[in-house]
């Protein structure tokens, strides 16, 4: 696909739309009666959405043969990390007023916080090693292996969501179903191909 630059721009702009609207609505006082809660929840949901989009690239690519899709994956993953970082900022700022003691207590005592921290911290090495230089330095195989941490991040993110809702579990379960489908596809392909995980054989690291 020659036009990859344009498609990257398309993804970049569209992924920014929710952030722009959030800021716009915030300024205009349209975030409802509890804007801080809305900001926290929405950035959390967006993190999951971009994790799902990132994990959808490989199945889509294999099913459609549109190999150029893989070149959009890095940006989607970085957006997941970006919205995740904003989500963390909301929590640390609005909920804990940057109180380190209260945060530490929360992480120690509350399972859903701990799982959320796990989901986010497992994205850190992925963001750090997302540059071309780091891919070369690590080598394709090791890079691929490391970046399977994205699976852990998605699963932990969904569990975090499921643990925090009061009683209506429909949305977390919907995310769980989609993540299960995307990971299940990978497991199925790996199983069908034999013992070696699919990505090592068929998926060169993007350049």
């Amino acid at each position: 696909m020659k036009d990859i630059k344009f498609y990257k721009l398309l993804v970049f702009v569209n992924a920014l739309v929710p952030l722009v609207l959030l800021g716009w609505d915030w300024r205009g006082g349209r975030l409802g009666a509890n804007p801080l809660d809305f900001l926290t929840r929405t950035t959390g949901t967006l993190t999951l959405v971009f994790l799902v989009l990132t994990l959808a690239v490989t199945p889509l690519r294999k099913l459609t043969g549109a190999n150029w899709l893989v070149r959009l994956r890095r940006m989607l993953g970085l957006y997941a990390f970006f919205y995740g970082a904003l989500h963390l900022l909301c929590y640390v700022w609005f909920d804990k007023a940057f109180g380190l003691g209260a945060i530490a207590e929360d992480v120690a005592r509350r399972r859903f916080i701990l799982v959320g921290v796990l989901a986010l911290t497992s994205m850190v090495p992925l963001a750090v090693t997302s540059t071309d230089k780091m891919i070369r330095r690590l080598g394709g195989k090791r890079w691929q292996k490391l970046h399977r941490l994205a699976y852990l991040s998605a699963v932990a993110g969904v569990v975090h969501y499921y643990l925090l809702v009061k009683s209506d579990t429909r949305k977390p379960l919907a995310f769980a179903a989609v993540v299960a489908l995307l990971l299940g596809y990978r497991a199925y392909v790996a199983y069908a191909k034999g013992s070696a995980p699919l990505s090592l054989k068929t998926q060169p690291p993007p350049r």
Binding site: L10, V17, L21, G32, A33
Partner: protein
């Protein structure tokens, strides 16, 4: 092989390179704008709170604009009418805060009766308008603390629950009061399935009789001097300001005096997390979050939560000798 002569296309018909490129740029710009607009629409549809409330029955409360900013709690301003009437938990109408204001407007709230029965000498079914004639509603400005960690200050219009109970003359063996929300399909209450909401219907709540007779326990019929809107529990609801909000059952149709502790909806759904008493207690965290602080709606950041929601002087005596960590 025949190669057509280039003369077939006159040079004047060849699109100029500049025009071609600018056309391509135009198409790309259009694609960008269209996709961004579509993404924006999807975002708005799925994630943005719908705060524009079409309220066919709502009269704008005159009090909400002309009333003094402080309705009586020193140093604490009343939460705005707009916020009190758009940010609600009413699970029959949906599990997010904005659904009740959008969806509860269809609820039929007249005629409406409240039955007072059970272990009383004088059981009776009251019309709700009869209640407001018998017991003159007065302004009662209370803090309202939700178990989820947010709070409001609400100028209710209501009367003491105890007056109604005394009229019915509780018998000596009556120890508890059970309450029930309407679930008559003719009232257009949609009632999400148990799978959707996690709750069974009708919504039920309960108090110990001495709690119910406490002068702070209120039956509210209005907010800011106006009749209750459906999303706030029209036409009559309980307000127990020292307990978490879910104890303050909405749209009450039955008040029954009983001998044993009655079942309560959230306790039935999850007894580990929601106790029968559910007094506001910063010392006892919810299993999944702290109760030490709260997000006062309209404020930036969180404020500390006081014991019994700031009503310890009035109600702490009800619980003398009780381990409130055990009876949470």
């Amino acid at each position: 092989m025949l190669i057509k002569k280039p003369g077939d296309i006159r040079s004047s018909e060849i699109t100029d390179r500049k025009v071609y490129l600018s056309r391509r740029n135009f198409m790309r710009g259009a694609a960008l704008a269209a996709s961004a607009a579509a993404t924006g629409l999807v975002y708005r549809r799925l994630l943005a709170p719908e705060v524009e409330v079409a309220n066919p029955t709502a009269r704008v409360a005159p009090g909400s604009q002309s009333a003094p900013k402080n309705w009586g709690l020193p140093g604490e301003e009343a939460t705005s009418y707009q916020q009190v009437t758009t940010y609600n938990n009413f699970y029959e109408f949906g599990t997010d805060k904005y659904s009740p204001a959008r969806r509860a407007q269809v609820m039929v709230t007249r005629p409406w009766t409240v039955a007072v029965d059970g272990l009383v000498n004088r059981p009776k079914v009251f019309d709700v308008d009869e209640l407001t004639r018998l017991f003159t509603p007065e302004d009662r400005i209370y803090r309202f603390r939700c178990v989820e960690g947010w709070s409001m200050v609400i100028p209710w219009l209501g009367f003491p629950l105890g007056e109604l109970l005394k009229l019915a003359e509780p018998r000596g063996n009556a120890k508890y009061v059970a309450f029930e929300t309407a679930n008559d399909p003719k009232r257009n209450i949609p009632e999400l399935s148990e799978y959707q909401s996690g709750l069974e219907w009708p919504y039920v709540e309960g108090l110990r009789l001495d709690e119910a007779l406490h002068p702070l326990a209120t039956l509210a019929v209005g907010i800011y001097g106006e009749p209750l809107l459906p999303q706030n529990g029209a036409p009559v609801r309980l307000v127990v300001p020292w307990k978490y909000g879910f104890k303050s059952i909405k749209s009450v149709v039955r008040v029954t005096l009983v001998e044993r502790m009655p079942p309560t909806s959230w306790n039935l759904a999850n007894s580990e997390e929601y106790g029968f008493f559910s007094n506001v207690n910063p010392e006892v965290p919810h299993p999944r979050w702290s109760q030490a602080t709260e997000q006062r709606i309209g404020e930036w950041g969180r404020r500390p939560t006081p014991a019994f929601n700031g009503y310890a002087d009035e109600v702490a005596g009800l619980y003398d000798g009780m381990d409130l960590k055990y009876y949470f």
